[in-house]
Amino acid sequence: VSPVTVLRVLGALVVLGLLSACVPSAPSPESWREDARRAVSDVAGEVATAQLALEQETADHLLGGYAVVVVVEAEELSGDAATAFESAQPPPVEEKRYDRVTKQLDEATGLITDARIAVAAGDEAAYPTLVRQLERAGRRLDRLEQSLEQPPGGSG
């Protein structure tokens, strides 16, 4: 085999690689569900963290800026988890649930942002409502996580 042929084959492989990199590839439905469950679980954990921090702040159990730091970090981590999940291409059979998952993740991260704004502003009057909203969001995320254990059609 001449060096020129080898170079041609290598060049063709590089071009093929570049072309395939331009097309976002969808993961398998099973792999997508696993990623979705993980993202929902991560965001649910951050929702619970924000809720616990708000409850402790209400009970005057936290010092100085502790609640602010905890809620800001929860906001960043939940945002990262939601963004990472949303940027992945869903398989065609899961497009409907992709919309449902992203909607709930966005709602949950938005709630954590509301909590951060309230804590940073020291708006104590808003805490009880936010705690209830975060609790409800957490329950919804738990149900969503359970439903993602089943393939589409097998869930509620």
Partner: protein, 409 residues
């Protein structure tokens, strides 16, 4: 009386000094996710660190020379270099994690971004390493680290179902929603955190710094056999707190702020203030210990003058290493890398480096030419050999488990 006070002080410092950012984070994560089902790993790790710390302490007290000094002489420059590279890499990584940990702890009180705090923490650490007396540094920071006892008080105050926690610890089991691979990854990480190599370097070099001799072997053993196990109890208390408060809420620990929340739940503001003081003291103390250990390791390997009791101009290269390592830590942390991630990586790589660190200690402690009548007895050799076997398994499994579980995700 003075001697008993010295023993008590040493033991208390060892308890406070045992817990560092790796123990804090890894135990908190493991507790929140696995309850106390990995508590036996902490016990296994504490027994292991006791076995090898006693050996290296005995070597230092008998020979008046620290670990690397003897490893190079006894096993040759090649084995010594391998030992140096493995343990130095982990020690520097741990040093970076500890400085980041101090910044995170201060951030929790001040709300100032950790990146703005890191340079000041690093400067303070370096000043302590340069100017503070060794005994002051060891005792003051160790005693302040005792503030972490607040986790044990918080656990008691939370009134958990003790029989359930005991059962979790006794039964080698895992929660249903976790995989065995992830369980094994955290077992390796907890073991790495408990047996971090710098603890042994710092301990043995400290013995040389303080001029302890064969007459002080009782003091060495009191520090090891009382201080480290009681430090292990603190680790278990941290895991217990997160198991009781964060576990039922499905909160996975990703930040230092989450680690402190159970104490706030149990003891309110005062408890949290004590826990934060403990975070700062434990991580600052460990930053000083790892920084010094990095300097000790390199200086001992190359045969340079080293130590805090030696005048700065006489141990210039040792102090230059301290400056360079501190600058490296600041450089890495200023990239914005998450100190918690650095911590998680450091405990895994600590597990990888364990045989490189502890095998030479076993060899030297067993050599009658160096140790005379104080060479290892049968029990020390048996335990050392069994642990070496465990260390090999852990070291081989660490990286594959890290890759397969995506850092325990």
């Amino acid at each position: 009386m003075k001697k008993y006070l010295a023993v008590a002080l040493g033991v208390l410092s060892a308890i406070g000094g045992f817990v560092d950012i790796g123990d804090l984070v890894t135990n908190a994560i493991a507790g929140a996710r696995f309850g106390l089902s990995l508590g036996w790993v902490v016990v296994l790790g504490v027994v292991g660190i006791c076995v090898f710390a006693e050996m290296s302490g005995r070597v230092a007290a008998v020979s008046g020379r620290a670990t690397f000094d003897l490893v190079r002489e006894r096993l040759g420059p090649r084995m010594g270099l391998l030992n140096l590279v493995g343990s130095m890499g982990v020690t520097v990584l741990t040093f970076i994690a500890e400085i980041g940990g101090v910044a995170l702890a201060i951030q929790l009180v001040t709300s100032v971004n950790e990146l703005l705090i890191v340079p000041f923490v690093a400067l303070l650490v370096w000043m302590v390493l340069w100017r503070a007396k060794f005994t002051w540094m060891e005792n003051v920071l160790g005693l302040l680290g005792l503030a972490l006892v607040v986790f044990a008080v918080a656990l008691w105050q939370l009134a958990p179902d003790w029989s359930r926690l005991g059962h979790q610890m006794a039964a080698v089991d895992k929660p249903g929603d976790e995989s065995w691979l992830t369980w094994a990854f955290y077992a390796v990480a907890l073991f790495g955190a408990a047996m971090t190599p710098y603890e042994v370097f710092f301990f043995s070099s400290g013995i040389v710094e303080e001029g302890w001799t064969v007459k002080d072997l009782g003091l060495v053993r009191a520090n090891v056999f009382l201080g480290f196990p009681l430090g292990g109890v603190l680790s278990l208390a941290i895991a217990g707190c997160t198991a009781v408060v964060l576990g039922p809420l499905d909160i996975g620990v990703d930040t230092l702020g989450q680690v402190g929340l159970p104490v706030a739940v149990a003891l309110g503001k005062v408890g949290l203030a004590i826990a934060l003081a403990g975070f700062v003291a434990a991580t600052f103390g460990a930053a000083c210990e790892t920084g010094l250990s990095a300097g000790y390791s390199i200086a001992q390997y190359f045969g340079w003058q080293w130590g805090k009791y030696v005048r700065t101009d006489k141990a210039a290269r040792f102090h230059l290493v301290l400056v360079l390592v501190t600058l490296l830590a600041v450089g890495v942390l200023m990239t914005g890398v998450d100190p918690i991630l650095v911590t998680e990586v450091s405990v895994v790589f600590s597990a990888v480096a364990l045989p490189l660190t502890y095998f030479p200690i076993l060899v030297v402690a067993n050599d009658p030419d160096y140790m005379g009548e104080h060479a290892n007895g049968r029990l020390a050799n048996l335990l050392g050999t069994v642990y070496l076997f465990i260390l090999l398994i852990v070291a081989v499994a660490a990286i594959p488990l890290m890759v397969l579980t995506g850092m325990g995700a």
